[in-house]
Symmetry: C2
Subunit: 361 residues, 2 copies
């Protein structure tokens, strides 16, 4: 058996565990992407996506990782200068994607583990220097959920600033009401709380974002909003899409709507609460600033000096895994994902195993 053929159950923050019912959908025979059948699939999928994203805006499927949609955001929405809110590895990378695309972008930085506060954004935007805000809702590297709803209130004061929100590891695990929040572009990825294999990103585009993009030259082709829009009118994607992931997405959306979105958010909160409580009871501290802990993953500070890599190795021998800290905070933190199709009982089982490995005290 090849190393990648061994099934280790994933409690890492993406790709998350994909359950057999979804893997079955992913393995369906192909349809032509210019066929009526695909158009039906596309229309049905995007209609359901609008529901779970609480939006009437156009919803697009991008055959790329979410990083591709970061590039879409910066190429379509920055004419002057962007303000990138940075408090972790992913928000930092989005900033560098803007710069690498030849765009001007400043960063509003706070320490990893701290949250980006609305007043910080307000202060920066009040200078009038910026025409776009790059805001990561849920920092997968630190487990911080930045205060999206409070930031959205501030953004009401700046209607000319594009509100670009990476909700990659929050959407469907935490409530993100695109229209109510006035989000211009909201992006997500299917290998997080959607619990599907990676290879497909999702994004919404507001009227204001189209108006902005229209005035921006050199948007490229692959991530140009208007290329996506042209094909959306035919219920198609501009280029051959990752059909297996779309099959899965369609069925997963049915499951979500059946569960009910509020219940789904509650389930994620319950798993998060349980995990945080476990960590604190074991004498660990939570890495995120108090009150800003994510509901889809828990980042734990390794204040007890355990060897995280060893713990993970032992978990993997039991057929299960979690994540070490990201980059510079490897071994200083560890991360447990609780999102997608994962149930509270499975989290309990995981933490029981952790208890066994960590021993008494």
């Amino acid at each position: 058996m090849k190393s990648w053929e061994k099934h280790i159950k994933l409690f890492i923050p993406g790709p998350v565990e994909v359950y057999p019912d979804m893997l079955k959908e992913v393995g369906r025979p192909m349809v032509g992407h210019r066929s009526k059948a695909f158009q039906d699939l596309f229309a049905d999928t995007t209609e359901k996506l609008k529901k779970i994203l609480f939006t009437e805006n156009d919803v697009f499927l991008s055959t790329s990782s979410a990083t591709g949609v970061w590039e879409a955001c910066v190429r379509n929405c920055i004419a002057k200068k962007a303000l990138a809110c940075v408090n972790g590895a992913f928000s930092d990378k989005w900033h560098s994607v803007a710069l690498k695309n030849g765009k001007e972008a400043d960063s509003l930085e706070v320490d990893w583990g701290k949250a980006i506060k609305p007043e910080m954004i307000d202060e920066k935007l009040s200078t009038g220097e910026y025409d776009a805000l790059l805001f990561v809702h849920n920092e997968t590297s630190t487990g911080v959920a930045n205060p999206l709803y409070e930031v959205a209130e501030v953004m009401e004061k700046y209607p000319d600033v594009m509100f670009l929100v990476d909700a990659v590891s929050s959407v469907t695990g935490m409530k993100v009401e695109v229209d109510k929040l006035g989000i211009d572009v909201c992006l997500a990825s299917v290998q997080k709380a959607f619990a599907l294999p990676p290879g497909l990103a999702i994004f919404t585009v507001s009227k204001k974002a189209y108006e902005k993009a229209e005035k921006i030259k050199n948007r490229g082709y692959y991530f140009d909003f208007f290329v996506f829009k042209k094909y959306l009118e035919k219920n198609q994607t501009p280029t051959t899409p990752s059909i297996p992931q779309i099959y899965g997405l369609n069925k997963q959306l049915d499951k979500m709507l059946e569960e009910g979105m509020e219940k789904r958010f509650e389930r994620h909160k319950e798993m998060a609460d349980y995990t945080r409580k476990w960590a604190v009871e074991r004498g660990f501290e939570l890495f995120p600033e108090k009150g800003y802990e994510s509901d889809t993953l828990t980042a734990v500070t390794n204040n007890k000096g355990i060897v995280v890599a060893d713990v993970i190795k032992k978990l993997e021998e039991k057929g299960i895994t979690i994540s070490n800290g990201y980059g510079d905070i490897k071994e200083k933190t560890f991360r447990i994902a609780h999102m997608g199709d994962t149930k509270l009982d499975e989290i309990k089982e995981l933490l029981e195993m952790m208890n066994e490995i960590l021993g008494g005290g």
Copy 2:
């Protein structure tokens, strides 16, 4: 049953039919993309890709359609002006992708159905105006296989011109020896002759292409050669990749190497020969210029005035389908794909059904 859940066997030029053994691979449980298991999968896959592409150059996996790699080519390899060889819908689109990325690009155009000849390219390049050639090996819209090997000979005279080859619908069905041909970037897509679901593109980068790219600003992030290269050194992809397609690719490469590449090319040629002979015997003409017919798909001229849409409808009632002509040559041509895992017997069966539908004479 939803329309997309009905299995219609595909003889269209992409996505092609994916057989049950590959669908099974695609439906495997996930691994983390930063795990040792994924690194093993990546290393094993890219090593085998080098064999089937006859190259020692770096080989990359892009979570995008091949269109994304077109964008990579134009952003990384055009400093001055490109010459785009245009004789169909896809080569034309590549030209427009260059322009949309703010690059200068002229087109060398011949009528759809005609091939791009080496002397045409020679004449244009001899002006010294160009620093990149956009060359589509196999035009999926017209069934023309442009003379790659003869063009490569001409390209030897122009070592400073990037030789960028779209081999999307030829690679593994027709021989493309990347190193021998001096191809700087060769790109392919897994939903064609690889017989896998779409969602993953493959490309090679030569030393010369790196040297060129190094001097070009604003390459972006998602398709920047150097971002790919940085992660290649760790046997990883820059961003979360389409893992199901990589699972399939790895196993499909085993199958290919087991079949033997020469035998595989022969099988494709046999299917092509049979299909062309069938068309001519039924009184049809072949759409491509004589001597430039593709071995992976046959484009047939509808000189007999059949209603192609009706024929396809009847085929679909029998659980099978082919493609109408592309764009402006819809109804004027039709296309039968014979690539990937398809066997000669299946082509015979398809054409027998066509005979039944078309009737005598």
